[in-house]
């Protein structure tokens, strides 16, 4: 191996002979007892490469060491009934659910928060790239993406730095992959000022028999790395080790943020789909965080355990990389396959067709260790499970934050409420012009929502709907939601409200909710208050999913989202996936026709704490969030699904932020069809005034428009399901008129609603 660069490799032999050598475990983020644990596992000190592997794989991000003890609830509270549609559960690259007719759908939501703050465009772009590869590695064709984004205050100067870059990153990468962006969220709150949240969801489909898993079985099967060449990006902290330990001629510091190449990923998608179709892949794993060290240890520990890898066979973009850096590099657009030797030629032919570089790095062995070589030097010899799965587990201290009692006691009862119709009209205009409620098309128009021709609806509808089967029209609806103001006030209730809202959005679109993925964004787990929030949120979601009968199939935890000691609001973003037997039946939001009857479904209580009104009118956050009523959510969903099935609904819109006022205004603005509304049936039945009827954020509510001729049939369905309803008005005209309160011209609503983000970004 004389042609290899002459690194002074720290080999297993050297580690055995020199057990007391000083190692920079603390700089790599390991705790003293974790380092000792590694020494016990190996019965010697780790080599530098092993130390690098353990340090990254045992990091919070990769090992879930602080969250594991809580996340178990997702599995423990999943009943056999909930498992019926679950083909692959938590623990694989993404969960898979059965949507009928032999189709399986896989979806997952992940975070890419910290890279996106440092380098907004590439951080967000590689976030999309990573989640798409997770979906590909299940054997699926990616169908669509969604991106829940959270920023600091819209008028803060740094938001104008971060937001355009993040949006262009999501757009450029997703658009170049040919994946429609069908939804997400755009949320502004000063708690995200120094720590924006970039979450990304991908959904993909396959036939149930085509599911692929990440495991390396079959002694003698080959380990093939394919996709982009490996470079020095995303090595980050590990470069500490490289520069301290080795005589490398390369640059001393490596960039921490990865750079994406969407073209390479698009080609990789098509290449993978051809490989799956040709049945030449026995196991598959994407390369993401911790690069080769993660992919090899995951594949080996999910398989027979033994694997040999030769790092000198990895195609390099930067020949100065040390073996340790190659092992840790997070270069994007790479995949690892397990291939039977007899199928290698076919594999290589398909890769060549797509100009995708592929290299055989090694093979599955009958040993128990993952062994990594550089030439003849053995750099790594570890039990793979000890790296990938059996890392440290912490039961971190929890403590309900002391501020919570005061915060919850500070409700909205003392705030001035609008007294006249004119005041109410002004409130409605202020609300729909506020950053969280205004028209988001400045953002969403940068995303291709049409590519591949299967998008039945996208932004600004309540849920994205995409067709899976072009023959039958079978498809899925997805919504992601979280109101972080509610989770701040009460993490348990707030998390269930996020679940309820996503569930409701999917049902209102006409899809039967089926499964959940969640992205749990929190502050530091070392803060007992944050850990308490996290524990409440996970318990709430597990409990809520059990009530609703829909399993959590996977997701992601992102800790350390904070600036100094100040954590973000707890932000458990919940994605719910539902199924439609024909996407043609889906309900759009917004009124397309005049003379339809408008119905308000559900009951309204005086629930203004944490509301959009409290924020917009009073910059106030305090009190208790709206009541969670999951049984009422189920009733609402079943009523809407029954009416959808009978084709009775012309439009439907979930009520959440901004209550009925926002729902009415958005429905008017969608197609420029006005409405006349009379709130008195609601006021008298629920004992609320016009302000509460319009601005309360009581849950389990929606509005629907129905052709006048179908009104009787619709009411019969609602009565049959036990769903509370009130007929509150009629569509048509050029105004939104609320009887006895105000009349607003559509053009005034529109001028308030549009241009808000655009104008903030142009400053």
């Amino acid at each position: 191996m004389s042609n290899l660069p002459a690194y002074k490799c720290d080999t297993v032999d050297i580690a055995s002979q020199d057990p007391q050598a000083e190692q920079p475990w603390a700089e790599l983020g390991l705790k003293s007892d974790e380092y000792q644990q590694i020494r016990e596992i190996l019965d010697r000190r780790p080599t530098s490469a092993e130390l690098a592997m353990y340090s990254v794989m045992w990091s919070e991000h990769c090992s879930y060491k602080s969250s594991k003890v809580h996340l178990r609830q997702f599995g423990d509270k999943t009943t056999d009934e909930m498992k019926e549609k679950l083909l692959v559960g938590i623990g694989e690259n993404a969960g898979v659910v059965d949507i009928g007719d032999g189709w399986a759908v896989t979806f997952k939501i992940e975070s890419h928060n910290h890279p996106s703050y440092i380098e907004p465009h590439q951080g967000a772009a590689t976030g999309i790239g990573g989640i798409v590869r997770d979906i590909m590695s299940m054997g699926a064709r990616p169908l669509a993406v969604m991106d829940p984004l959270r920023f600091g205050a819209l008028d803060h100067p740094d938001t104008a730095r971060v937001l355009p870059g993040i949006v262009s990153g999501v757009g450029t990468y997703g658009n170049s992959l040919g994946l429609p962006n069908i939804g997400g969220e755009i949320n502004f709150d000063s708690c995200y000022q120094g720590n924006p949240l970039v979450n990304a969801l991908c959904v993909g489909s396959m036939r149930t028999e085509d599911i692929h898993l990440a495991n390396a079985t079959g002694v003698g099967n080959l380990i093939v790395l394919f996709g982009s060449k490996t470079g020095g990006d995303g090595i980050g902290g590990v470069s500490v080790l490289a520069s301290e330990t080795f005589d490398s001629t390369g640059p001393a510091k490596r960039p921490a943020v990865q750079v994406g190449d969407p073209f390479a990923e698009k080609v990789l998608i098509e290449c993978c789909l051809d490989l799956y179709a040709a049945d030449v892949v026995a196991g598959i794993q994407d390369l993401g965080g911790a690069g080769l060290s993660c992919a090899t240890s995951e594949l080996a520990s999910n398989g027979d355990g033994g694997m040999q890898i030769h790092l000198d066979r990895v195609p390099l973009r930067d020949p100065s990389l040390s073996p340790e850096e190659i092992l840790m590099s997070e270069s994007q657009e790479r995949m690892m396959a397990v291939v039977e030797p007899g199928k290698l030629e076919a594999f290589m032919e398909i890769a060549a067709k797509w100009d995708v570089e592929a290299s055989v790095l090694g093979e599955v062995t009958d040993g128990e260790n993952l062994e990594v070589f550089w030439g003849d030097d053995l750099l790594v010899q570890v039990p793979p499970r000890s790296v990938a799965h059996d890392g440290p587990v912490y039961q971190r201290p929890l403590e309900r934050p002391a501020y919570l009692d005061d915060l919850q006691a500070d409700g909205t009862a003392h705030l001035n409420r609008p007294r006249t119709g004119d005041d109410l009209a002004r409130t409605v205009l202020d609300l729909i012009a506020s950053p969280n409620m205004c028209d988001a098309s400045w953002v969403t128009d940068q995303y291709d929502r049409y590519v591949r021709g299967n998008t039945a609806q996208a932004m600004p509808d309540d849920a994205g709907v995409v067709r899976v089967d072009e023959e039958t029209g079978r498809g899925v609806a997805l919504s992601t939601d979280c109101n972080p103001r509610f989770t701040k006030l009460d993490p348990y209730a707030g998390s269930q409200l996020a679940l309820a809202e996503a569930y409701r959005n999917v049902a209102v679109a006409g899809a039967a909710p089926l499964a959940v993925s969640d992205c749990l964004n929190f502050g530091s787990p070392e803060d007992p208050g944050v850990m308490w929030q996290f524990s409440e949120a996970v318990t709430a979601l597990a409990d809520g999913c059990a009530v609703l009968g829909i399993p959590v199939t996977g997701g992601n935890v992102s800790f350390y989202n904070q600036t100094g000691d100040i954590a973000i609001h707890p932000t458990p973003v919940v994605a719910v996936l539902g199924v439609l037997d024909d996407v043609a039946k889906r309900n759009r939001s917004g009124w397309a026709h005049a003379q339809d009857a408008i119905y308000l479904l559900g009951e309204t209580r005086d629930e203004l704490d944490g509301s959009a009104w409290a924020e917009v009118a009073h910059s106030h956050l305090g009190g208790l969030p709206p009541t969670v009523d999951l049984a009422a959510e189920q009733t609402l969903a079943s009523a809407i699904l029954a009416a959808t099935d009978q084709g009775l609904i012309t439009s439907a819109h979930d009520l959440s932020d901004g209550g009925l006022a926002a729902g009415l205004a958005e429905s008017v603005l969608r197609h420029g069809v006005g409405a006349s509304v009379d709130l008195s049936p609601v006021a008298s039945r629920d004992g609320v005034d016009a302000f509460v009827a319009l601005l309360s954020e009581s849950t389990a509510r929606a509005i629907a428009s129905i052709s006048a001729s179908d009104a009787e049939a619709f009411e019969a369905v609602l009565s049959d399901k036990g769903q509370a309803f009130a007929r509150i008005g009629t569509t048509g005209g050029d105004h939104l008129k609320v009887e006895g309160q105000f009349t607003l011209a559509i053009e005034d609503l529109r001028s308030a609603h549009t241009g808000v983000i655009e104008s903030a970004m142009s400053h």
Binding site: G171, T172, L177, F263, D355
Partner: protein, 223 residues
């Protein structure tokens, strides 16, 4: 009636173009960038996407793909060719159409439902429209600004080769609101918006993209 759809590495709307051809009543034939063989098709669509990543300049590398060695002479010989978005960029890079497409003047990718006026109907791809018919189809591009020198623009106008023009606001800074042009003979058309996303009820903003595909099928039948 066979219409070829070329797939370059990085093509994205090839599947959509093939579906549009089938819905219009034709047979879609997939053509591979690396093969200089048109498989006897009666017309060709160069679909949207980012061929070869469009890293150098949109369409600049695709123009040298082996399939173009077969397509360029065939187009000069009268074969109907429609370049949509990236396909339009490839046609300009190939000099089958004049001018060039540059980054949108507002520097952002834009996806929206766009109103157009069809100004030339004696092309292979627009015969099923009425003169000056107004349609709304999907527009989505990052480099959709049509540019040419004044003399070329005047010539295009004088020869009636502006096929489609943007209405209701110029989405990308195109000179003279030009959304699509043709060669003199009318067999080669380049269009920045995406008619293939407007061919099926319930998907996309309407069905007003379908006539592009029915036009060519009728033209090929009658030829």
């Amino acid at each position: 009636m066979k219409v070829g759809v070329v797939t370059f590495p990085g093509s994205l709307d090839d599947h959509d173009a093939a579906r549009a051809i089938e819905l219009a009543g034709g047979e879609a034939v997939h053509l591979w960038h690396g093969t200089a063989d048109l498989q006897g098709v009666d017309a060709v669509v160069l679909p949207g996407g980012f061929s070869y990543g469009d890293y150098l300049r949109a369409g600049a590398i695709a123009r040298f793909a082996p399939v173009m060695d077969a397509l360029i002479p065939a187009a000069k010989g009268g074969l109907p060719v429609l370049g949509i978005c990236n396909g339009f960029q490839v046609l300009c890079e190939s000099h089958l159409l004049p001018g060039a497409l540059v980054r949108n003047d507002h520097q952002k990718f834009i996806c929206r439902d766009q109103k157009l006026r069809i100004e030339r109907i004696n092309t292979a791809w627009t015969g099923d429209f009425a003169q000056d018919e107004e349609i709304t189809i999907v527009l989505k591009n990052g480099e959709g600004g049509y540019m040419a020198d004044e003399r070329t623009l005047d010539l295009l106008e004088a020869e009636g080769r502006v096929v489609a023009r943007y209405l209701g606001g110029n989405p990308n800074g195109s000179r003279r609101e030009i959304a699509g042009i043709s060669n003199e003979a009318g067999n080669v058309v380049g269009l920045m918006p995406h008619p293939e996303h407007c061919v099926e009820p319930g998907f996309g903003p309407g069905l007003e993209g379908l006539p592009f595909f029915t036009s060519v099928l009728r033209q090929v039948v009658s030829a």
